[in-house]
């Protein structure tokens, strides 16, 4: 890379927020045609760094050179003008606009006094063709699958003639095949001389596509390396600062009786369309059934139906032989069902409550914790302190509000509460979403421990690696159906990927 032109150079960048230093003396160099991976855990400062480069934050110290020129960006508009494009983690698209409208927004071709839509569409179609990003320019963005929406985001950057492309966690929402496609597209950009900054915490992708890897931890650069000089374990150690078990250690499952038995479950989504279609499944004590699938294929509705949060139709749903169909969430919980919801912020914790109160949300009224309507604070605190220690929840005290904890620690609060009651069935939806690598390791070991104790576990995750690593049996959900169930030993990443994308078992 040393012989190529330097597109972007940042040196000594520091950004402080009240109480924290988000970035401290961070430097990076991006050459023409280079794919630079920024690797780090949540909260390591990756986003802050690129926001400074994109002009969303002003650095407190340090300087940014774009194509050799020292700049102080006044905002995204300025960054765009200098050839920086950013594909955000949460797509910045207007759902009710067409693809073409989204791409041109902010930089519209004009035939006074109107927007020249014909020219806009032609230009967007030409770009899509040139870079192999197939998309219908007249389609409404809200009707498109996420993989296509991401192409629209990339087109936005290309339309603005970006030669520095920042991609913030671009693969979080993609199937393995879509991910491979994207990585190919990025290689194509690099071949055309575009410099790409690729932010991720997925080691596999970094090793597959990056020319240079810069690892951040706690707001500082802890090292710069290349895929040739390192491997997944080495990168994980750099990210976390200690050695990490990337694979979950577990013994073969010792299964017993069927705990969860679902026959013919169907449910609709929030707008009344079918989301779960005639799903039947069984989970036995002592095993983990993993449900893989791209998000939005009915997993959310399935979990809500099973936990009583969504009305559904079914021939039968039983837990340990007892009828759970049509029961309230509380009644189902009382049958020994623990639930780790996919959205912990809204469904998992009550943010303004203390950690202790969150830990007894499901049992606050039991005789142990309350008598005649008066709460027994001492008992609550005692239990909370015990769980905080047991589950390694990093909090100043059990009286701290849950909302002030990091994502990983909030999730540990949820896991601790749901596992403390020794449930017969644990339903865990996206249990490690937005959680740092160290906590992922811990949460995984807890789920396996619950299995080994004899609990049945239904694991729903959009992270294929998580399902492959934890589950004893794997089912793939597509368009509301469970398309196939495979034992973990036979599972093959490529095949599951195809099933997730809707290919049938026959043509995979």
């Amino acid at each position: 890379m040393a012989d190529r032109r330097v597109l972007l150079q940042a040196s000594g960048l520091t950004k402080r927020f009240p109480g924290v230093v988000a970035n401290e003396d961070v430097s990076l160099t991006l050459h023409e045609g280079e794919i630079l991976a920024l690797l780090g855990e949540n909260g390591a400062g990756k986003s802050t760094l690129v926001k400074m480069i994109y002009g969303l934050y002003a650095p407190d110290e340090g300087e940014v050179l774009i194509k050799g020129e020292a700049v102080r960006l006044s905002g995204p508009r300025d960054a765009i003008r200098r050839g920086i494009g950013m594909v955000h983690q949460h797509f910045q698209l207007v759902p009710v606009f067409t693809v073409a409208e989204n791409v041109i927004l902010g930089d519209e071709p004009i035939r006074w006094p109107f927007v020249n839509m014909r020219k806009a569409k032609a230009e967007v179609a030409r770009l899509a063709e040139e870079f192999g990003l197939q998309v219908d320019v007249d389609a409404k963005v809200e009707d498109l699958p996420v993989g296509t929406q991401q192409r629209v985001e990339i087109l936005k950057a290309l339309y603005r003639k970006a030669d520095i492309l920042i991609m913030d966690e671009p693969t979080a929402v993609l199937t393995p095949q879509e991910t491979d496609e994207l990585l190919n597209v990025l290689r194509g950009f690099a071949a055309n001389g575009v410099g790409v900054i690729f932010i991720t915490h997925k080691l596999r992708e970094v090793l597959a596509v990056a020319d240079t890897i810069e690892v951040l931890r706690g707001g500082k650069v802890v090292g710069t390396t290349t895929p040739a000089d390192t491997d997944a374990a080495g990168l994980a150690q750099m990210m976390v600062g200690r050695s990490v078990l990337l694979t979950v250690e577990k013994s073969p499952a010792e299964t017993a009786d069927v705990v969860l038995d679902v026959v013919g479950l169907s449910a609709t989504n929030d707008i009344g369309l079918p989301a779960v279609r005639d799903v039947s499944l069984q989970v036995r004590a002592g095993e983990i059934l993993g449900i893989a699938g791209v998000e939005g294929n009915g997993q959310r509705e399935l979990v809500q139906a099973l936990t009583g949060l969504r009305t559904c139709r079914a021939q039968s749903i039983t837990v340990n032989g007892a009828d759970a169909l049509g029961k309230s969430p509380r009644a189902i919980h009382a049958m020994g069902v623990g639930h780790v919801p996919e959205d912990r912020e809204t469904d998992g914790i009550v943010g303004p409550y203390s950690v202790a109160d969150n830990l007894v949300l499901d049992r606050y009224d039991e005789p142990e914790f309350a008598r005649m309507g008066v709460r027994n604070r001492g008992a609550v605190t005692a239990l909370a302190d015990e769980l905080v220690g047991q589950f390694d929840i990093r909090t100043p005290s059990s009286e701290t509000t849950a909302q002030s904890l990091s994502g990983g620690n909030k999730q540990k609060v949820v896991i601790a509460r749901e596992l403390a009651a020794n449930p017969a069935l644990l339903i865990a939806a996206q249990p490690t979403r937005g959680v740092d690598v160290g906590s992922i390791e811990f949460i995984h070991s807890r789920i396996v421990a619950a299995r080994d104790r004899g609990a049945a576990v239904l694991l729903v995750s959009a992270e294929l690696d998580e399902v492959l690593g934890l589950a004893d049996r794997i089912a793939v959900m597509y368009d509301g159906r469970l398309v196939e169930t495979i034992s973990a030993e036979e599972a093959d990443r490529g095949r599951i990927g195809l099933l997730m994308a809707g290919h049938t078992a026959e043509d995979s």
């Binding site: 955000h88 910045q92 207007v94 606009f97 927004l105 902010g106």
Partner: protein
């Protein structure tokens, strides 16, 4: 509300009007004139709502903006002895109140409902406190009759022989439709009301777009108020706007946040009121006046019950924009 449904309804009503015209020319024209007069402030006020909500700002203070403008316009004209000056005072008052809402709801990121309610309460208080009895306007506003067009049967006398604000109320929705859906300003305004973070990352100033649009909309609220006291009634009373600002919000929803849809919806409101009044005047039906007066409010409730959930408001409406 599906477009097909709306077109069918519009076609049926048009056919009924033509039949009525064949049966009784004088009465039909008089009912339509009444309907249009009734619709004008509703149209203008609904445009206020559309501009604000398409930009992501709820304007529940339209009622107060109209009331103060009607007040300022009337007493401005009475005090200066100049209708044009009074009108300008009324329109300017609307714009000032637009800026008032913009500062509260956009700059200060206040709760938008509260910011609008402040305007409403302030308007009732100020216009009641400073109200003076016995003032009269220095004359009446001119009626502009367009030669040729005004001699078209039915449409001519109703549409092409009116005051200036009435023409404005008929032209502005068409203009606003073009602006919203065909120009850069419109594309950006709608993006700001649907997904401001997307606008922001595309280099569009969300706050300034919202601020200027809310202020611009205030100008139309001023026109609606000035129309009521100066062009339509030639007088001002306490509580003069009688809830028209709120009815306009219902019309905005009924018209699916589309200026032309709202124009049609406002005329439909006017027509209902016009027909009811005519039937009562002719003593065809013996309904007490109070029930006739209730009609727009009842209609508002019924229509909202029908369309609510079927039309989708701009996604970011009501939420002050915070950068993350």
């Amino acid at each position: 509300m599906s477009a097909k449904w709306a077109y069918t309804l519009a076609a049926i009503i048009s056919a009924l009007i033509v039949i009525a015209f064949v049966l009784d020319q004088v009465r039909t024209v008089s009912v339509l004139e009444f309907s249009l007069r009734y619709a004008v402030p509703l149209i203008l006020a609904a445009m206020v709502g559309i501009i604000c909500e398409r930009s992501g700002v709820i304007n529940i203070g339209i009622e107060g903006q109209m009331l103060m403008s009607a007040f300022a316009g009337f007493f401005g004209a009475a005090a200066t002895g100049n209708l044009i000056l009074g009108t300008l005072i009324g329109v300017g008052t609307g714009m000032i109140l637009g800026a008032f809402l913009a500062v509260g709801a956009v700059t200060w990121k206040m709760d938008q409902i509260i910011a609008g309610t402040v305007i409403n309460i302030l308007a009732v208080g100020l216009t009641s406190f400073f109200y003076v009895q016995g003032q009269v306007l220095p004359g009446t506003t001119p009626t502009v009759t367009i030669p040729g067009l005004s001699s078209i049967p039915l449409i001519g006398p109703v549409v092409f022989s009116n005051g200036l604000f009435t023409y404005a109320a008929l032209i502005i929705p068409l203009l606003l439709w073009v602006l919203l859906f065909k120009t850069r300003w419109g594309l950006r305004t709608r993006s700001v009301g649907e997904k401001p973070s997307a606008s922001d990352t595309s280099g569009i100033g969300v706050q300034s777009f919202r601020f200027w649009n809310v202020m611009l909309a205030g100008l139309l609220a001023g026109m609606a108020g000035a129309y009521l006291s100066i062009e339509a009634a030639g007088t001002f009373e306490r509580g003069f706007t009688a809830g028209r600002g709120f009815t306009a919000l219902a019309i905005m929803i009924f018209g699916a946040w589309n200026p032309i849809g709202a124009l049609a919806a406002a005329f439909f409101f006017g027509l209902t009121e016009g027909v009811a009044s005519q039937l009562q005047a002719d003593e065809v039906v013996a309904i007490p006046q109070q029930f006739i007066n209730m009609l727009p409010y009842v209609l508002t409730i019924v229509l909202l019950a029908i369309v609510s959930g079927r039309v989708k408001p701009p996604a970011a409406v009501g939420r002050p924009y915070e950068k993350d």
